[in-house]
């Protein structure tokens, strides 16, 4: 029977997943069959994809990508890998979106921010003490390299203005608007929708404080604009930004990006 094992097409005389494991590895190895980790043996059929992972071992680079992505369904991963996504603003939303999209295997990311990591970022943004003082573009790119070295990550340490939107984002499928200031959010959305026909924007508005997590949602108010948040809870004195709601909103944005890359335009 022809099956794919750890990325290699093999002709094996096996009827079940655990028989494949016996031939390739040992009894304690993890078995992932077509994107799902199994703990009971089951029959395999022609064309199935298996990943056999030895616990605790560090695999060779050429095997690593297949093992990392074994939990994706294979046709999903192939589509996501072709995606080109720009993230504008690398704060609480953008840094967390970037980490999620890198884990998911989005093939090309553009990270844009003008600022450096400072202590007040650590309450919600994906940075560590060791990153303090580094440009956010540099600190985030380092992390993404540790999470998924098989994607292309470009960085631009710059401020987005009405004059540079087109040159920064041209060629990307999707822009994640992940700024803090409402004026910056509005500027990017307006200029990108005007100047880059066809580009999709996944923006955010309203995720401060600790109001119900269930108020945060994704809507599609315009043809090429998706908006995530509760649309009301702005950050202000007395209502700061906290990790959970910011990350929930970032999760909404990242999920919408994946849906769009998979050809789904409904929220």
């Amino acid at each position: 029977m022809k099956v794919t094992v750890n990325g290699h097409r093999l002709e094996l005389d096996c009827q079940t997943a655990f028989q494949v494991r016996e031939q390739i590895g040992s009894q304690t190895d993890i078995v992932i069959l077509n994107g799902f980790q199994i703990d009971k043996d089951c029959k395999i059929t022609e064309g199935d994809a298996l990943t056999i992972i030895r616990k605790g071992a560090i695999p060779k680079r050429e095997e690593l990508e297949g093992m990392m992505m074994a939990r994706h369904t294979s046709n999903v991963y192939e589509k996501i890998k072709k995606g080109k996504v720009a993230i504008a603003g690398l704060g609480g939303l953008g840094s967390n979106i970037a980490v999620m999209l890198a884990r998911s295997g989005v093939g090309q990311l553009l990270l844009i921010d003008f600022d450096v990591v400072e202590p007040s970022n650590l309450n919600r943004q994906s940075y560590y003490i060791s990153h303090l003082g580094l440009p956010k573009t540099v600190a985030l790119k380092k992390q993404l390299g540790e999470i998924n070295p098989f994607i292309k990550v470009e960085t631009k340490q710059t401020k987005v203005t009405a004059d540079n939107v087109e040159e920064l984002f041209v060629g990307y499928d999707i822009i994640c608007e992940a700024f803090d200031q409402p004026e910056a959010k509005s500027l990017l959305v307006n200029v990108a929708l005007e100047q880059l026909p066809g580009i999709k924007i996944v923006a955010a508005s309203g995720m401060a404080g600790y109001d119900s997590a269930n108020l945060i949602k994704t809507v599609k108010p315009m043809k090429n604009l998706y908006l995530c948040g509760d649309f009301e809870n702005e950050a202000r004195p007395g209502r700061g930004l906290l990790a959970p709601r910011v990350q929930i909103c970032a999760g909404h944005q990242a999920n919408m990006v994946l849906r769009l890359l998979l050809g789904i335009e409904d929220v």
Binding site: G89, G91, G92, L93, G94, A178, F179, D180, Q181, P182, E183, K185, S186, V189, N190, L193, E194, A203, A204, S205, G206, M207, A208, P221, M222, K223, L225, L227, G229, F231, E232, N233, E234, A235, R236, L241, V246
Partner: protein, 64 residues
């Protein structure tokens, strides 16, 4: 006129800019789509609203 899904009756001939000011929008914090097309900010004062128009106004609040 339909604005964000609700019917609004225009009492007089009005530009988009005047309508947004009446509704207390801060034009630096919004985006407006009219009949399915984004309206460039620079043309808010030149767009004259009609009863048949459908507007989507997105208002951004701070935080991220």
């Amino acid at each position: 006129m339909k604005v964000n899904g609700s019917i609004i009756v225009l009492r007089e001939k009005q530009s988009l800019l005047d309508f947004l000011a009446d509704q207390k929008y801060d034009i630096k914090k919004i985006a407006v789509e009219r009949n399915g097309e984004i309206v460039p900010r620079s043309s808010y004062d030149r767009v004259v609203l009609k009863d048949e128009d459908t507007l989507e106004i997105v208002n951004f609040v701070g935080g991220g």
